[in-house]
């Protein structure tokens, strides 16, 4: 499956729903470009929904970490929710799940921006 990315808002938080694989090549490049565009155009709080990401390699990790750094430097933030299976394992092995706040579901992820969790 190719990569599909859609954006929605919940209050001030931009939620990025991602579907497909984020691996080296066109899908990794598209994901990276979208996050960079988001970080540059509307710096703020971003939440990435990984529930339907089926595969991720280091190009996906690179995009996440670079966007996290860009957003944090501009006063925003980047958090993750719903990683599963091998994607969760990749996040664990690379420590991204602890370096970037990672939540099991959207409700708790959104609540974290309000400082309630």
């Amino acid at each position: 499956m190719d990569l599909q990315i859609s954006l929605r808002k919940s209050g001030n938080v931009t939620i990025v729903d991602v579907r497909g694989r984020i691996t080296s090549g066109p899908t990794g490049d598209a994901f990276s470009a979208e996050l960079r565009r988001l970080a540059e155009s509307t710096p703020g709080d971003v939440l990435i929904n990984l529930a339907e990401v089926t595969q991720m390699d280091s190009s996906g990790i690179g995009a996440l970490v670079q966007s996290y750094v860009m957003l944090t430097r501009s006063g925003g933030s980047l958090k993750l929710f719903n990683p599963a299976g091998k994607v969760l394992e990749v996040l664990e092995v690379t420590r991204v799940n602890t370096a970037l706040a990672t939540y099991a579901d959207e409700v708790s992820a959104l609540a974290s921006f309000r400082g309630t969790t």
Partner: protein, 234 residues
């Protein structure tokens, strides 16, 4: 009761060389700062690797009976200093494991260095390394497969010795963002288990083997793979 220190005073574990007589600790041949109680604790742990060193034993052997100090704080601080010197992590220990409220245990394989330069193991080899011989020069040119004994599907391989040391520092400082940034910069390669690699060099047991990656995202790249990550060699 634990035995007295081994008469042969030189020991080796991972990249570290310890001289119990002179109190020197070296990593990759370079001396590292470790003295006083942190060194004494290391020496006690190395007396009987794999066995529990209780906090009570530590107190009895390092603090005289009539000493009036905050022992708990003292031992915690000394162990913290020791871990930092060894690039070890409380959460993911490679060398010193904490047994909560009981004490500490040295968990890496330790070798005694005999006078003629040969080594012999003084501790049980950890389960995840059983059957793994140390890297041998005659492996150069052979092909192995990446594996992870913990059952994960991926491993991280540093591309240089400097990156290896940087990872070590990140581990010790629990700097997870540092590790993530190294992966993002592709200095620490995320490699799928099962990926084939060719052995390029096998002369540095501390770093593992230098390998050429033969498949996957990083095909063609060079990296260092610890012996435990290499299947198909004997």
């Amino acid at each position: 009761m634990r035995d007295e220190p081994l008469p042969d005073s030189q020991l080796r574990f991972d990249a570290y060389h310890v001289d119990l007589r002179t109190g020197e600790v070296r990593k990759h041949g370079r001396r590292i700062r470790l003295a006083g109680r942190p060194f004494q604790i290391l020496a006690l742990l190395l007396e009987q690797p794999g066995e529990l060193l209780t906090r009570k034993e530590l107190q009895a052997r390092l603090w005289p009976a009539d000493t009036f100090v905050d022992f708990e704080h003292g031992v915690n601080t000394a162990v913290q200093t020791l871990r930092r010197a060894l690039c070890d992590s409380h959460k993911r220990p490679r060398f010193i494991e904490t047994l909560p409220r009981r004490g500490y245990r040295f968990i890496a394989a330790v070798e005694k260095i005999q006078s003629r330069g040969a080594t012999m193991p003084v501790s049980p080899i950890p389960h995840d390394r059983q059957g793994d011989a140390a890297p041998r020069p005659d492996w150069v040119g052979r092909v192995a497969a990446i594996r992870d004994n913990a059952g994960r599907n991926y491993v991280l391989l540093p591309i240089t010795e400097e990156v290896h040391d940087e990872v070590c520092g990140c581990e010790a400082a629990q700097d997870d963002l540092g590790i993530s940034l190294l992966v993002a910069a592709e200095k620490l390669l995320l490699v799928d288990c099962g990926t084939k690699v060719r052995i390029l060099d096998a002369t540095n047991p501390a770093l593992g083997c230098k390998v050429r990656i033969l498949g996957g995202q990083f095909v063609g790249e060079r990296a260092f793979a610890p012996r435990a990550y290499l299947a198909g060699l004997s």
